[in-house]
């Protein structure tokens, strides 16, 4: 690994235009879809200096060879923990269990970390171990803040480790937060759909165009790892959780009542895009007016949440950090229906990581993302 920042840049620097003195950021695991997109967003970001992209494979190849669209002209390096001086922050894009030790090593060398894996998303260690096996670094859990920016902005600002949410929980929790906070969710079915990029750079029969195109397939029936993540957040919200409450620190799950979420994932015949269709049985009747008020109160000041008047298509948010939300009541059934559309790779993963970095380093939250 070269000295941070020394990676050769070509003469025609297509995007990088960071200000002098910008925080220096590294992306570990830049060969996967999520890491590569994070590298792209940071490379073109005016407020960060992307100092290195590392990978556990493809070392020596340039990232713009693997991902031509992103045009990041840096060579992929091995992660050398002895050369991290001057690195202010890192995005870690490793699989769960592989991430935590690297997050720990980076922390010990002073870098603040946005971790894209599941390792620090769950407040409950027991829940983590039920779904993922032994946790490699449970000691770090207390340093970690759940990185759904809109809900935990204040604690993210000061966090050492930000556990970037899963893409499904991002859409699902944003869709349900205004109802959960009001204690209105008695029961909920989340029917979620996502493009093939959600599987990452995995080459098998689920991603081969000849199987994936002209298809839609449900997967992980009654057993999706994102369910407990959603349930933890809804429980925290139902206990009154809000960004403002967090100022003094606060528990991750402050005693809200829990709802067993029916979550179901489907694979869509498209590249990037995710829709969470949420069907809520409310604890009491909810009028359209109350619904509109609650969503407006929650999101009118949010730069990346768009409340829309017609059900959103995922194209409307493709390659953006926006989440589009539409909520309605159904007089026939009494249920509340909420749709949330995001780009699973952007707001669902990598651009939310940059949104969090912006918050962590006191930059305008939309810097590099609008």
């Amino acid at each position: 690994m070269a000295e941070p920042g020394s990676a050769a840049r070509p003469a025609r620097d297509t995007a990088q235009r960071f200000a002098a003195g910008s925080p220096r950021v590294l992306v570990a695991g830049a060969t996967g879809f999520a890491g590569a997109l994070a590298a792209y967003l940071l490379w073109r970001h005016p407020g960060f200096e992307l100092v290195a992209v590392t990978g556990r494979s493809e070392v020596g190849r340039r990232l713009d060879e693997l991902y031509p669209r992103y045009r990041v002209p840096l060579a992929i390096e091995e992660l050398r923990l002895d050369r991290l001086e001057g690195v202010d922050a890192a995005v870690v894009a490793y699989p769960h269990a592989a991430a935590a030790p690297t997050v720990g090593a980076l922390r010990e060398r002073g870098a603040r970390v946005v971790d894209l894996s599941a390792d620090f998303r769950l407040g409950s260690l027991a829940t983590y171990e039920r779904w993922y096996g032994a946790h490699p670094r449970p000691d770090l859990l207390e340093q970690a803040v759940y990185g759904l920016t809109e809900l935990h902005r204040q604690r993210i600002a000061g966090a050492a480790i930000v556990a970037n949410p899963g893409c499904y929980p991002t859409a699902s929790v944003l869709a349900l937060a205004p109802l959960a906070r009001a204690g209105l969710v008695a029961d909920v079915v989340i029917d979620a759909k996502q493009g093939v990029s959600g599987a990452g750079r995995v080459y098998d029969e689920t991603t081969h165009l000849s199987m994936a195109a002209e298809n839609i397939v449900p997967y992980k029936v009654a057993a999706h790892r994102h369910t407990p993540e959603i349930e933890e957040q809804l429980a925290w919200l139902s206990g009154g959780g809000s960004p403002a409450d967090e100022e003094g620190g606060g528990e991750r799950s402050p005693g809200g009542s829990s709802v067993a979420v029916q979550f179901q994932a489907h694979l869509l015949p498209l590249d990037q895009g995710e829709l969470a269709s949420c069907y809520v049985t409310p604890t009491r009747a909810v009028t359209a007016a109350e619904l509109a008020e609650r969503f407006a109160a929650a999101y009118d000041q949010e730069p990346f949440v768009e409340l829309v008047a017609t059900p959103p298509g995922v194209r409307e948010v493709r390659e953006t950090n926006f989440c589009r939300i539409f909520a309605a009541t159904d007089e026939h059934t009494g249920k509340v229906i909420v749709f949330a559309a995001i780009d699973n790779l952007w707001k669902g993963t990598s651009s939310q990581a940059v949104q969090n970095l912006n918050v962590m380093f006191a930059l305008p939250e939309g810097e590099g993302l609008l």
Copy 2:
């Protein structure tokens, strides 16, 4: 309109190989997706003679010009009611309200009819009028049988008018029938997804590839016309409805208890294919074993229902009359999840029409469809 049967056939007759003395069938409204596919299936059917294809537009053009894939070399004619002698059956592929008068006229000339519109699907005239406006021929309702073949086979066999189900009800009701019949459905959310062909030969922003590709969009929130159709069938089933019960005639909705169905449609970025994801809150705990037994009992002898061991993708049933069903219990929530995949144009529309014609004319049910 030429004399039935006189339409010129080209020298190289690519498919038509009907047996002498086969019932003579006409397709009215063959210029739309559903009618054109019905014409194709009947043209290549060994047990029917396709005598004419009619349209309200495109008269004089050959159907294989409009639909090259189907290779039906007949010219589109105007429907001439004075030239229907010798026509044994008709498939009517008109929009609702436009269909009923034509169905009536065909009946009066002795033809048995499979109607693809909504005009004869609902047992309750009041429900019809709430969703579709005044009914042009309410007098014919009592002649009509609901054409979900697997549920109403016995009455279809003798029916004068078969009301071919909507594509969404086909998948949804097949998914839920074994539970509904056992009175197990306390509450149900149906999250349904369908390809663009479901909109038919409509040219607008919902079908333009530049908007429809790389997208998924919910539509008709809390207001889909297929909801009452599903509810009527579930009510009939919960009252003990079964093909065998029908032998003696029987009401269409024999007093079963009703469930308010939460039905939601989504537009998929693909051509043909439909998935109904059903989330049932059961009236009592249901074990995996009971679930498997109930579905096996309902469908093991059905030629076009396939119970599968993994969640079905719509590709698996594309351009077939099959419905693939997967059912599971979720221990976490206690809910029952059922997926049903069909091709919306085939089993959801036109091949089911042919399946019904086979039943009506005592041909093997799979003739021309396997």
Copy 3:
């Protein structure tokens, strides 16, 4: 490997309806796209009995698990050469070099073979070895007939080994044959485009939907192995080659003049479909009338070639054995333009194999394919 024919068939036999005494056929290499489709076509074929499907992987799994759409309920077996008694024919779907030894072994046990690989496509051993390396069984070359049915029907009828053409040569040679036979091709550019299925069941970045969708990529520039195959056929045609000439045997390349073909392949963002756009500089001026006559003379009696009046889209031939051809002159440049559209997996590979089997066993050429 079980006794041929003993493979268990399920109770609900969805398609297999072969006549008693039908030739018994085996598919070797049924786990790939081409072999699986050949198995499907033979399974539902009324004139052949599919006795076994073999694979070098996935042994023991059922073919309908790997390829649900095809619904062939046979278990994949190892190929046991000691159990081939009673096998009349085989389709071999192996990669080049792996195919020839198996073809030889099958021949020695009396089976007639349609080989889908490149091993027997080229008349010139030297050309083969330049592109593919050493030939494992050059002794068999003289038994082999090039399997472009429309050109070599008469010799195919009696052949021991039929070398099924590559998909690109199928479309290209059908497009150019009427011109080549008349010695009209001075120079030709073939710009060919094919769907992802052409790569087969290969999982990599060329087939991952996230890279292949919304894309088109040229590949193998100035170096496609199909070029010499096309050139050999055009040379044979320019020497006067025709099905009738072949009756007495005849050379594979009887001294026609050769044209250096500019062939270029492109990967399309779709599953099945292939278009060859051919730009011919003629040896002399060609009128539209002459062009129409030559193509009509060549193909008017061909059951699977359709001359069309507007440029064909590949959808029009999807999942069929048809080749659609459109030819035009360009007054501006004097060139002749010919488009040929096929389904690369059907006419380009597996259904043409069945067409050849029909010819070899004196069945109607379209049996099981219309």
Copy 4:
């Protein structure tokens, strides 16, 4: 039409951040694909103020309703020629023949114009009239400069009217310019492919997903209006045309020798993307080294042309102003093969318009585009 600039902007201004004193630009015809994208690019451009978007339909609707992805929160207005004071420039996105009168009116009120139609692309009025009919404003032709930025940059800088090239000529001429300028093109076949967005917001059977997906179709055989545009540019280049030569003014077609171009368009099953595959018969043998040198000399300093080492896919340039070019010689045929990939809506249309505006107003050429 409101006073320029007075159009209400919403509180949360997602992108517009132009500098004070920026040139004020209007987009006429913003309801189509090209105009809407131009509006989006100008709205987020730091160096232009987008003062109004006009349309001949949809007046009063907000542009972000029609094109949610672009998030331009301006209402569509009628074009009021009496309210153009203070408008420095306009992008006109009208069909041919409709554009010229509006271009004239805008010129008469002092605005500089980038015209996206064909009205000012051809130097020869006779050629224009052969393909498009009578020219509404031939008097303006001498004010117009052909807007392929890389070729005509110097004259564009001072132009009153810039005739933005067609998307096919953009890719084709960039692919061939280094060869044409050296007089190396004896004969050329251009096989071009483009996504459905090239047809614009047209709703018919060519754009309906059910016809356009899983398809590729050639269109306008031997009769594409872009052919003369390409030929004029190649003739100009073969006469030694270069940006530097133009300084003193210069003819649009200074006497180069002409080549009859064989151009063929195909419709691809994707939204945005265009590939021109060019097959050149050179006037003399060209080595790989000479080829590489000529392309490097032409494009090494070009900010938006990328010479690449492997054939480019259109995904690599999607939603960018880049043109990726790959050139190779074919020893077998002696031909030169060049591929050029662009996004037909971006570099092929709207982002090239902005590139031209940057040049016209002396802004950095990549401003707002990188």
